[in-house]
């Protein structure tokens, strides 16, 4: 009998251990309150989010908002598996490259009926972002914050060369002329960094040359076009003349580090780089809009809040979204200096976050914003694209050949997208 008991206890013990290991986090509110589960990755936004939730709770005292921060490395895997298992968050952060894959699987709620119902005016958000989060003509995410590309420069190096700072009249030609004068080979100073990266580099230049990366219908690639080729030829010219570090140097040492250590006079960078570059260069740091090719263009990317397509608290989640991405929430976000808010006219606080830097440049760049190119299989064609284009920058093949390959591979991947 005694042995029988211990067998039973052993079995119970084993199963308890197993069950506690497998157990998920049960979502139930305290005191029968309704619960909204929110998921995102960046803890730097915690203060702003807490303040916004406080505003929400003043209006909705009976709803509890539970926020989970998952580090970027695990965020997408966790989000995908939890949504597939019907236990995902009600409200979550969405980015451009992943948007179409989620929207086409019905994991994101179409916001258009809710927008209509509450009479929300979506024209207050940057158009490029509204485009980015529109799937089949309907908005699926409410934009939260954004970044654009500008031309950072080192004032000290310009002063030493006796040149005037870049401004909005600059073009590709002006860049080359000035880069020639700023390049100082004996001291290892480059006039310009022609990035081999896409977001800060060739995505902008292709658009400035009048080309595109992905067609509006997301069915064809724009890499194999004369416009795209001219953008790369311009970049390669600057590298060949020694005005810019070459591809191998850029592969090994990130161009941002090179510029931050005062080894380059001009560097196209993202608005979110401002705090880091300011820390490194202090008041020597300046910024201007990107010089124009045939036309002006600046790649804009931003995040939005999405609602789980299967949420049980749709109305409450929608109310929360309107506060987070509404005027009040966006002003809070700007004041924290975290990033440029997506709501037009709320950026005042963000502009003041680095007094010595003219951050208004990034807001002005939104006038000629081009959305960061995305589709359902963004990661897949981007890898193919980067592989070909880096090989060309490294001199292993011509840009003509690389762009042809990149275009063909991207077209083939786009053809397998379902929708």
């Amino acid at each position: 009998m005694k042995k029988g008991m211990s067998v039973l206890i052993t079995m119970l013990f084993v199963f308890t251990v197993l069950l506690s290991a497998c157990g998920g986090n049960a979502s139930g509110g305290d005191n029968g309150k309704k619960v909204i589960n929110v998921a995102l990755w960046d803890e730097n936004v915690r203060d702003t989010l807490d303040k916004s939730i406080k505003i929400f709770n003043e209006k909705h005292p009976n709803v509890q908002v539970k926020v989970t921060y998952t580090p970027w490395a695990d965020y997408w895997t966790k989000l995908r598996t939890s949504l597939a298992g019907n236990s995902g968050p009600d409200v979550y952060w969405m980015n451009g490259p992943n948007f179409h894959s989620y929207a086409s699987s019905g994991l994101i709620k179409d916001l258009s009926p809710l927008i209509e119902q509450s009479g929300l005016d979506t024209s207050v958000y940057t158009e490029a972002l509204v485009d980015m989060y529109t799937y089949q003509g309907k908005l699926h995410g409410l934009p939260y914050f954004q970044d654009s590309i500008g031309l950072y420069y080192n004032k000290e190096l310009f002063d030493n060369a006796g040149l005037s700072y870049p401004d909005d009249t600059w073009t590709w030609e002006t860049v080359e002329e000035n880069a020639a004068k700023l390049t100082d080979k004996t001291n290892g100073i480059y006039g310009y960094i022609a990035p081999i990266d896409n977001q800060i580099g060739y995505y902008n230049f292709i658009a400035q040359a009048g080309g595109f990366v992905i067609s509006d219908d997301k069915k064809s690639s724009g890499f194999n076009t004369p416009e795209a080729l001219s953008a790369f030829k311009w970049e390669q010219g600057l590298i060949d003349k020694g005005y810019s570090p070459n591809a191998q140097q850029q592969l090994e040492t990130k161009s941002r580090q090179l510029f931050g250590s005062g080894k380059a006079a001009m560097f196209p960078g993202i608005s979110v780089n401002s705090p880091e570059l300011h820390k490194l260069l202090g008041d020597k740091l300046g910024v201007a809009v990107l010089p124009a090719g045939k036309q002006k263009a600046s790649i804009v990317h931003g995040l939005s809040w999405a609602i789980n397509g299967k949420t049980k608290v749709e109305q409450e989640s929608w109310e929360l979204l309107q506060i987070l991405s509404g005027k009040e929430g966006q002003e809070l976000l700007a004041d924290s200096g975290f990033s440029m808010p997506a709501y037009k006219g709320t950026e005042g606080g963000w502009l003041k976050s680095i007094p010595s830097l003219d951050l208004q440049v990034f807001v002005d760049s939104l006038e000629f914003a081009v959305p960061y190119p995305v589709s359902q299989k963004t990661a897949e064609w981007q890898d193919a694209e980067v592989k070909e284009i880096q090989a060309a920058f490294l001199g292993k093949k011509t840009f003509e050949e690389a762009l042809k390959n990149a275009g063909e591979q991207m077209d083939a991947i786009l053809a397998t997208e379902t929708k």
Binding site: V7, V14, L251
Partner: protein
Amino acid sequence: MSSPITVTTKPPEMPKRKVGKLARHEALWGYIFILPVVLGLGLFYMAPSAASLFLSFTSWDGLTSPQFVGMDNFTNLMKDDKFTGSMLNTMMYTVGTVPLSVAIATVLAVLLNQKIRGMVFYRTLYFIPVITMPIAVGMVWKWLYNSEFGLINHVLGVLNLPQPNWLFDEKFALFSIVLVSVWSSIGYNAVILLSGLQGISSSYYEAASLDGAGTMYKFFRITLPLLTPSLFFVLVMSFINSFQVFDLIFIMMDQQTTMLESTRTVVYSIWEDGFKYFNMGYASAQAFILFVVILVITMVQMYIQKRWVHYQ
């Protein structure tokens, strides 16, 4: 119905029925003791492996339900340059790592088997890379390899030797990673071989000395043959580990770069397809092929061990 254990532990005059009951009782306890391991293996190894095998015949994005596609994943893999390239890289990596690591570890084990002061310290020293996190190893070596600011090229520069771009030149990249993995695996292999060395009876050496055998003769005629069981184990494990390498490449290479063409391994490719593109079926098919390759290589090793492994 009696098992050998019960026959030896119980007096012969005990009735057979009672003995049988005890045997059953003991068997029950045996099952209970292995239950946690069996459950753990079943839940975390067997079930996922079976699921993965099933998924390899489907197309699954992790969101919608899997679609059965038959052999499509496998036929596509044979045409996929990325996969065949990664298989080739993995083989080159293995051919580079395993012999080098095992050879150095053997010599090191012999050296560490001597009786000198502070031997524990040296043994610890060589084992440290094994217990160091691969992330830390990768990050530190990435800096050592830096072509402009790295220690390795600095030393080469002082000696007036060529300074290659270790990680960002496709002629060197895989070789550079092989060096790091050899460095970090020597310690583990050496410890296994060291325990093998200590199991060799000193009487063989005494007898050989009396017959006038030299150091090299003793090494090749006594040490090496008697070390073959340990060498066999080390070889099998090294092959398996090499075929599954992922972390060093993940840390030392950018995630979007043409350099991956010459450094991408099969497991890296599985990760890319599975957790970057979310083509779970396609990734599972690669995992299954890798499993078969490792299985075949291990079976071949088991088969040819008869010719060179000497058990005492």
